[in-house]
Amino acid sequence: MQPKPTALKILDVVSIIVLAISTYLALFFAPTELVMGQVQRVFYFHIGTAWVGLLGFVLAAVSGVIYLVTKDMKWDRFEVAAVEVSTMFFFLTIVLGSIWARPAWNTWWTWDPRLTTAAVTELIYIAYFMLRQGIDDPEKRARFGAVYTLLGGISAPITFMVIRLFRSIHPVVVGAANANQDKLSMTGDMKIAFFFALFAFTIIFIDLIWHRVRLSGLEEKVEQLKLKVSM
């Protein structure tokens, strides 16, 4: 049994600390938003989870491509980790978004581009896991998984673009593309909470990915030992 690397232990502690700080910033430090009130505070975590969810999605597609070129199983492990962690974060994003949407838009759910794309992305992830589950040969599983993350990675942005061409009520936070959308204006303290949340979730994301990749490595070790024992 390999001991947990020291760097990972440190990162675990840092993750917890930044999560605590980010929670404080979001719930107490940032001023209450004038129009929406307290519920707006959920937005800091919403953006944080959405950002890492997206990051994981892109990383999965990229490691899929690298796997197909190098055929190195290490990239498959990374891809699975990225997809799993990002599935969880996307789910959190959707839940947090719903909590916000209820008072803000008076509905739990709307078929807005971002929400729909998030839902479709979750479905792509679920399909990805079902695909992998149906294959016994690890090499083939890795190959098919890589192909599918790549297809998903290309299709999801197009889905977003397509729905956006119809209609959107989602506020554009950074770089408003459309002038008549209700843009959130952030004060200085809000910006601190906002950017710290992004930073905090990035750290947590890296920590979780690291754990997941390490877990896959250990799983493989166990398989190897089992095989040795059986022979």
Partner: protein
């Protein structure tokens, strides 16, 4: 014709072939024998360019695999226990399709010749769906030789055949081999292998455990040799 050096094939963590060495001269008919799960089919699929070696060198008909797979495929005929035929096409249409896949310019005479050889000329216009298992298997051999390959691989060609069909298949296989082709056949039917092959290789635990030519075997019988090899 076939040179294999230190071939390793892994499926995930499972190692099927572990450093296998194997070579076949032109015109030899090698029977590859071994218990189930020894890796015969995996090995044949690698020779057929259908599966990539994990490690090691594989050369078939003068070309390296997997890099020169296209050149190898053009000189290779494969018969497996599945017929690889389309049931909703006639015998002739199946042959025509595969002829065009091998780039044969004027397939008509060649198809007639091949159907004659496998004894199906009179069923030329019938749907493969209506064929018996034995007839399908003979047609599968016809399909495999349509492009006149130099090397032939047979993977358990007798699977699911009754006595008569097996005997007819024997004849077809003999005539295929008699044209100077190099043949590798896997089988667990020792009697059939003994009849046809000029050399016997025993594949066990991912390597060739023993190997004997027909001449070397003349005094002892194949079964004792086979059992001996597996014990060692």
């Amino acid at each position: 014709m076939i040179i294999v050096k230190k071939l390793v094939k892994r499926f995930g963590l499972k190692v099927i072939l572990r450093g296998l060495d194997f070579s076949v001269q032109q015109g030899e008919f090698v029977a590859l024998l071994g218990p189930n799960g020894a890796g015969k089919t995996t090995f044949l699929r690698i020779l057929a360019s259908l599966s990539r070696p994990s490690l090691g060198q594989v050369q078939v008909a003068g070309h390296q695999l997997p890099d020169e797979a296209a050149q190898v495929r053009a000189k290779l005929g494969v018969v497996s226990h599945m017929p690889l035929l389309y049931p909703d096409l006639t015998a002739e249409e199946n042959m025509k399709f595969y002829a065009s896949m091998y780039g044969i310019a004027d397939p008509g005479p060649r198809i007639t010749e091949v159907l004659d050889m496998v004894g199906l000329e009179n069923r030329r216009k019938d749907l493969v769906r209506t064929f018996s298992r034995g007839m399908q298997q003979r047609l599968a051999i016809g399909r495999a030789v349509i492009h006149n390959p130099e090397v032939m691989l047979f993977d358990e060609p007798y699977t699911g055949l009754d006595q008569d069909a097996s005997e007819m298949l024997d004849e077809v296989l003999r005539s295929v081999a008699a044209e100077g082709r190099t043949v590798v056949m896997t089988s667990h039917d020792l009697a059939r292998a003994e009849d046809l092959a000029t050399r016997f290789d025993i594949l066990s635990r991912g390597v060739i455990a023993a190997c004997a030519t027909q001449k070397e075997l003349q005094n002892s019988n194949l079964l004792t040799f086979y059992k001996q090899a597996l014990v060692n």
